[in-house]
Symmetry: C4
């Protein structure tokens, strides 16, 4: 099984997901600056999801870098991740159009949570396939980020209905936490 | 004729097909959880088609792996397959929006059937091009899955109008049957 | 300038163009077979354009195969071709939705004509860049197909308003004429 | 970090951006030539943005050609550029649908300006990463085009509200200025 084609397909899907989100920023009817005002939350929602998808693309790339052999499990775990990523544009648009309402904030968190879980499953399958000297296992180390993200999303989901601003802060915080590319993997690879 | 570009183009089309399906999950107007309820059949329909397209991508990849020389027939048989695959988003959305109504279940089956036939034609042309020692021919063996799928789709189409639930069960069953990647091809290739 | 990236970008754009056309086959409101009836001309229009785009992808691939060095002229001639190709979904949808009305048949022909011209320009720039022993020049020979297509489109455009059926026959005829991959290029390449 | 995948992902996003713009040219309801008339400004707006995206793709390609090592900064500067490029379809459609009204002309300029800045940041990070003998630094020389473009966009933004035609002339002028591929980089590379 060819890694290149798995990467190419994943890149294609990610490129499309990140770009079709922008179709949700519908062209307003008037031609005044004030017509853009209702688009501000939609724009902010797009911006955050763009960053999240950028993070996933980046980390996916690093993870795949450590991979040599692909098996059916990895292939479907990857498709499973792409499935949840493909729901981000929906969650983004619903959240933005409703000005970060409690329920839409919660669903946004649910989609992020499912993506975190899907990423975790894929990561574990790759580690398992690499055996005892797994390069990826060394690279992620204790995997603080990977383990804390789903927990943080869960907290956000719980708070979304009562104090949606907390959910918002968590989503931004997790994004910032990941924004730095995973130097651990780079370091380990360079030392090989 | 370069196999790489045929694969890249097919991957691109498949990535777009699998992703634009999600555009049919239209953002609801309200911002309550209850607003998501009408989307459940659309979501389930999307999920099933996502799996089908994942299967096609996966099997297409395995099949192409055995291929060395491309001729005009293979090229157009591949485009023919992409054509029917491109109709899956339409059949998926129509089926989901109508809560798996008899006619839409039937048309969904017709599109799956045509895809099965198109895949079968492509497979046969590749086998033919590989001559007596066709790697693909060895790999698929008796091709129970490939031969039974169109028959199962036909049964589903026949039952869709009277007992649509049978059609639904068949579509899920065929997907599960294929979900396991085609180990036969992997095995044969590894023994080369 | 790297040929691979020019091919990859062209493939990407072509894959998207061929796939977004299907978005114009809008899901009907009812769930009866009769609801599909108004979609028949849209479907036929999609089918024809799918074939045309398949032909362009195929011939583009063959043409690029003969290419070694890319210059700015070739790059922009290629983008120029992609521009006109990108208008095919519009012309296709307008034509299909209006059941092949005279004006929409004419505009469909105009877009095909412009694509033919853009292809011709790109081909000539490549030949020019290859000097006296141009592989592509040998391959296309007298280029009967390339030269007759724009003329046939012009005839179709002229007749579209009075006898639209003639335009339709011409569009189908030209597609069939090209459907056979350009064996000339393959032959010449194989003899190198 | 693999340059190939960064290029492939950027190409994918650019191919999608350039193609989804065409979705804004909505199929008119009538089937007369006169029904196309309201589409003329939308078409012209599409044409200009197509050229701009072609320029970005072209220059991005040349810039990446000089690149060897990718770091996190370059990766995110590239995503930052893709983010602003992804807003071009929105600005294009809004501008075209409003027949180049003052405000929409201004916003179009703002998006172009942000793209110019994002490109500038990316370019500087690449130069910085290449050290004292930066190939890209030599290639761009004094970078007259790169430095004057944002200034010209600013002038266009200022004039858009009072005399929108000046903004329009500037957008066309900048596009023409860049239309010639960056021979400087080609020259320097060839002399290596």
């Amino acid at each position: 099984m060819n890694k290149t084609r798995l990467e190419a397909f994943s890149d294609g899907v990610l490129a499309i997901i990140i770009t079709i989100m922008v179709l949700e920023i519908k062209v307003p009817h008037g031609n005044e600056l004030s017509n853009l005002k209702p688009l501000i939350p939609i724009f902010l929602s797009y911006l955050l999801s763009f960053i999240y998808l950028g993070i996933y693309w980046n980390n996916h790339h690093h993870m795949m870098h450590t991979l040599k052999n692909i098996n059916g499990g990895i292939l479907w775990a990857n498709l499973h991740l792409l499935f949840w990523l493909s729901l981000i544009p929906f969650a983004t648009a619903w959240n933005g159009e409703n000005h970060f309402a409690p329920t839409t904030m919660m669903i946004y968190g649910v989609v992020l949570f499912m993506n975190g879980i899907a990423y975790f499953i894929l990561q574990n399958l790759i580690i398992k396939s690499q055996g005892d000297n797994s390069l990826l296992k060394k690279a992620i180390g204790k995997d603080y980020k990977g383990k804390s993200s789903p927990i943080l999303y869960l907290i956000a989901i719980i708070f979304a209905n009562s104090i949606p601003i907390i959910a918002g802060i968590i989503y931004i915080f997790v994004a910032l936490m990941w924004l730095v590319p995973d130097k651990r993997i780079e370091r380990i690879i360079n030392h090989q």
